[in-house]
Subunit: 474 residues, 4 copies
């Protein structure tokens, strides 16, 4: 058992989303760039390190794509001026999470390419499992690479398949037969908006509509931001193509086996989104209820760690009858450019970001709900803050099972030895974080949080990886 | 009755805080600039349009003040580099709200002046009622003005009084006898940190301590951000002076009559602050409870409009027994640089900032708690959004009485004819905002929300202005 | 005859250089990024719209290239911080001129690519004549393009040739057999710095050395900036490769026929550069002397239009015996971000940039030397300014023949109908610009300005295009 | 004798100008901000560290002044947007040189103040000799200071005098009786543009006109930039006031004794300016001629160190008969943001900024003219560069006498012990800089360079300070 509570943990103890995609096509020919702009605000929680918009005019000259991209948040990258320069009635937007040496402007999406049959513009949420193999094959048949993103590999395969295919849709289908991985992609060709979702449907993708404008987006929160209605989710394995005649669908790659990421419901997605017909909010409420059943405790107050723990806390309260309350004030001004305290300082980032409401917790036995524990450090700081504020007991309940295995499908669940649950028993974790009791959601309860549906991926908890292994991974 | 629901109302239908002040003096001689930086994050809700820090060294040469100021948020104005340049063990920080033509860099505080007896550095939260009279008198005895802030007037009076006084404290006291208004001020002379609060105590000011470091701040949220303990509030009319020997106090201007702003509790202050020994959070819970008693309704769910309506909603739920829930998802990425939708657009700022959780409200009778209605427009948009999401009834409860009169004491409650309650009956307001019922907190209940204390200002609701009129106001 | 003197002409009536390239390899393993930085300052006159530096470590892991690029001048793109991030003992730098829709960040060089055999980093000065044909062929064998620069095409061809070749040098040679055009390229592979010049040698390229550090650069001005010695020019058609063992050369593509751009001497290159063993300054002095012989005039003062007309003016003065003087003060603060006067304004950009020294010209007969007249407008403004200042006569002498034909080799000599000399006789031009006489350098005199050498390109004056036509051009 | 040649000397071995001022009043009511903008470009050589513009409308409400100021060059501080915000038909502009701790935004001018009688806006070129005394007196009668510039002191005195005076002009005159120093000031009251020049006329100030628009500026180069005609210089001691009825003048403070800075002609002013009816360019030509007479030498080429040494070089050449030539190429891209080489580097700032034209100097005996030697370092680097390039002899001629005494009148001639000529004989200086001979202009020749006029200040050469000493200086 090894304690690793430190000052900076709050930053690093949440998983990061892995990109959001958005495509809009206005059949009436109106400009879509500002709708993409507002829609991306509805996806910003999926990626804060880069963003971009590319638009074109379906009635204009071929290949005339205007784009603007940059490192940082939407509010940092786009100005009224840069937005005004982007005119066109079809477009793709992207928000990006990136790590390490991939944090360069070259890697910001959407990726715009010119090829034999015109132009393509792609935004990807996901990751390929056979990218090394594909890259090797492409390189040895004369490809050069200017980025380190899988989007470029996919663009290459599509471009090459397009040389042999009758249509862009056929090229996309043939590409899907070659690439292995978890991917939701929105792309535009000069006259079409296309959305695809890998056959396992790991990441979400949904279709919306507002008047005569079609939208394909990672989450329904993007549709709500622009006042569009949900039509339906893109089916795992489906190719959706929107042209001037409306929506077309190719379901020939749809397969039985699905592996939709269960952690989208637990943490990644916005609480007001609906994924594959299940409300994210309801799934969190249910997780809280199930926790209350499996890990009941005698207490005075149920609280949630902002923001994602709050809905589960409401569920726990409803089931247990223990009152729900708000015990934290989150400082919304602490952002990307916040200067972090040095180790020697008395101030901690956590304390500045998240202050405890003493009045709420003083003298009380607290049930504190969080969505997950990754490395295990912030939890300890928060438990201590609650006790400092006068809580007599702090019972921690986690609305997901313990993380034991890395994720290869486009989220950043780290490798096993960085996961606190991989190295410690639950009792040890309890001691490390200083809780009076600790309970996790049971693996058996996962299905219940999504209305009893099956076909989800729980590999990070169980190690049962649904997608076949590739040479890359061996 | 005139409806004035429009697209931009959400921005303009909340009052703006009127500055936050913070002073720190480390008697052990350690650097205070980063503590001021983190502390100002704890006050950022009091002003987002400008901020600054000025520091000095109590053991260094006289008058050697380093300062950095700018327009915008802390995160926009300060970089690691600009913070590193500010070395000193005594300093003053300020966050500023400003309107109209006062939005210029000259007006950003703290104000640093050089005068016959050295230097002074001041940060003000508040406003003078006799500023015209004072300015006239100063000008006709040879003063020139480089800003349009009252801080400059106060600095002038102090500087002139100091010529006749034995100490800076005496000069400050004589100044307080001349200035009329609502003011909380933190200032530093080369060797002293001084905090004053007008005799009515309109705005808050609190003293804190961490080891051998003293802090004077607008709210306790600044103390929490830097891990300091509350010592006590500065008493209305008190002059607190901190030098190398510790705290000194002059209470000779303390008077019977107080007029502490009740709206700090209802909306301005951060929920986790404590003002004059009353928890802001508790006062909001109590307001909700009182509303439940005075305006009960048969309903399925109590919700609060983020962020300030939430605590009152919890109180309403507790009292009424109707379940509390979260019905809104707030988009925390929509900030100062958000490009607002044009009127012609379908998207509204409100919708992008605040999305309704359909699952929570569908088919339900809702009690929606908000802290106030100023001009009356956002409320209508939110009520409509709830009904669009399937709420069968929306009962609006406001945790303050109707605004009927302007505020002259440093907040921006507008003049009567812009206040919806000034022009419309409660029934008319209900119709304008489309609510099924509407209830306000009763004026008689105000005292109860602050533990039955008296000596508060409720002029914006009652028109009973506590501070004597000045020539300026006639 | 059509006059087209207007206010903005000064900006547009000079040709623009077409990029500068620079590569440095320090065999001792020391960092080269700051030397590239200073060297690019010595090439900034060749391109002001974008610049970049990419470096690598010949002893480090393969493919680990760090780069920083941006739109604008060196002083705008590079900061101490961005420069410090670039560590490595081998690197390539580029300054770029770009026009129209190519002005995007994607097109800024050097271009960094990853391919089957590792990485390549290229900077190009020049243009391909068969780029359409090559692009078509590449695209139909599976290439995708992310930029609109010829550098990307060249990189593709090299990458594909490399798959079949034994060495990068062989791949480069095979590439040179396929590409047609005017190009000087500096590139780096993980362990080698390579410089090539097209077989016609249209654009300059020179090798330098400082201690154990090798430099390949567009002009010797880059060598001077970093204190390096000239070794020799890269020969037209030569492939120079520098590795840890020093310089290697492959001259197998060297051909008899050369076509070195004569306008580099007249205007493009910096006066202190030496190209193919001929001093640019001396060539300009000679052009002035030849003008004095072919177009003598009785006058009081010879002046040069800054900056490129000055050396020729000195030559004219030396030959004619008429005193040389400075008649203009150039405002060096007027740069890229200068806000241009609106048409309605009395101020002109020319007047603000270039003021006439009245004392020098008053009452005098002036010989004014300029390097060229492209569209013909600025000349008229300057002649008028001289007359306004009291010049009694202004005799204009141009140190090049009239522009009659567009350039296809990488400079921006416009198409014929925009060239004043294409549409007007010399007498008509004289009238348009308001000169008392006008004389151009004779085509026959061009050889004399480069020491009687032959093998230069004068197509813009004569229409004799030296490089074979490609399908693209038909 | 102590050598102090170092790498950074070039930056520090030129004196800095001390601000430029500009005021414009368009009697026809047209906007003047863009004319001030272009005019300030014509004064940018007088100050590069800060600039600002303030404008008002003589027909608008009193006291409504719009201003924009910032640190840096005009091109860095002003954008099209910031310029568009400045509307008004009367305005003042300023470019500033500043050093040390005065480099703060507070100190950037013009200074805008509000006082009993309205508003004033001032720009100052110069310095007060009794500023301490005045500041003390002001402070002890109740003044507070927010800047460290003398402009604020002057504004205070004017504001206070104005309380007793019948007009702003009378207040200004009474102020001039109190302040001692060297000052040229342009100021605007709500309805008047006023220019004053101290009775010694140390710094220049000139009146211009264009149609119905009046201009008061530091130099005629500002008038040329905007196409205005020179009317006349402001007389030393004169108060020029421009209102809707035209120019008014008060010469009652005009005195016999003048002390116009002779170094304006030698170096500070732009060569195309005319100061007090003497052409700066002609004065430099004359200085060169006089040097040729007093310090003749047998040589092959006369060159000038850019930019200010060039005119004197032309004069030397004319007088001596030795040919004039250009031996340096100045890199105009090296600006404020240039990252200076570290000491350890082989590159020097001088080499990158100023390259020697080898062809011009090789094998030649050179006469190199510079305007001054302050600390003495750059000269040595340049002489060495010439010799490295093959010059057989380098004879240095300085177009001013040796600096021996500090300047107290607003330029930055340093104190004696930093002046190379203060510590070394001319022969020693020659050795330090490595010249073959060295000659300075004789003090007796100074009058001749300004057409034999007297009434100039040569204190930095002679120690004869023309303005009476103040208490401050004792």
């Amino acid at each position: 058992m090894k304690s690793n509570i430190n000052n900076n943990y709050f930053e690093s103890d949440k998983l990061n989303h892995e990109c959001g995609v958005l495509g809009i096509y206005d059949l009436d020919g109106e400009d879509v760039s500002s709708s993409i702009y507002y829609g991306l605000y509805g996806l910003q929680h999926r990626g804060q390190e880069g963003c971009g918009i590319a638009v074109s005019d379906t009635n204009g000259p071929l290949g005339n794509i205007k784009s603007h991209k940059g490192m940082g948040l939407m509010s940092e990258v786009f100005t009224e001026e840069s937005l005004d320069d982007l005119c066109g009635n079809i477009g793709v937007g992207h928000v990006r999470y990136a790590s390490g040496r991939n944090k360069t402007i070259e890697n910001v999406q959407p990726l715009v390419i010119h090829y034999a049959k015109g132009t393509l513009c792609l935004g990807l949420n996901g990751t390929l499992l056979n990218h090394k193999e594909l890259k090797h094959e492409l390189a040895y048949t004369g490809a050069i690479f200017q980025t380190s993103i899988d989007t470029e590999i996919i663009a290459y395969v599509i471009a090459r398949e397009r040389l042999k295919a009758k249509s862009i849709e056929e090229a996309v289908k043939n590409t899907m037969k070659k690439i292995v991985g978890a991917y939701s992609i929105v792309m535009m060709s000069p006259r079409k908006l296309i959305g695809i979702r890998d056959p396992y449907g790991v990441h979400p993708l949904v279709i919306g509509k507002r008047d005569n404008t079609y939208i394909i987006a990672s989450e329904t929160s993007a549709l709500d931001a622009i006042g569009a209605e949900i039509i339906r989710d893109v089916e795992p394995g489906e190719i959706v193509s929107i042209d001037k005649d409306g929506i077309h669908s190719d379901r020939s790659l749809v397969q039985e086996k699905k592996a939709r990421c269960i952690f989208e419901y637990i943490y990644f997605a916005r609480a007001d989104s609906k994924i594959d017909d299940v409300s994210v909010y309801n799934s969190r409420i249910m997780a809280g209820k199930l926790l209350a059943k499996s890990h009941p405790v005698d207490a005075d107050l149920v609280i949630g760690v902002p923001d994602s723990g709050k809905a589960a806390a409401v569920g726990y309260a409803q089931e247990s009858g223990i009152p729900y309350g708000t015990a934290f004030i989150k400082n919304s001004y602490v952002g990307r450019t916040f200067i972090k305290p040095k180790q020697s300082m008395r101030e901690t980032s956590v304390r500045i970001k998240l202050n405890v409401l003493k009045e709420m917790v003083e003298g009380k036995r607290i049930v504190m709900i969080d969505d997950s524990i990754v490395r295990g450090t912030t939890s300890g700081i928060i438990v201590k803050a609650l006790k400092d504020a006068g809580a007599t007991e702090v019972h921690v309940r986690i609305s997901s099972p313990p993380f034991l295995h890395p994720c290869y499908y486009g989220t950043d669940v780290p490798s096993g030895d960085q996961l606190i649950a991989h190295n410690n028993s639950i009792e040890e974790i309890r001691q490390i974080i200083g809780a009076d009791s600790l309970g996790y959601l049971a693996i058996e309860d996962l299905s219940a949080i999504i209305d009893g549906q099956t076909g989800y991926c729980d590999a990070c908890f169980t190690g049962n990886y649904p997608i076949e292994q590739t040479k890359d991974m061996k």
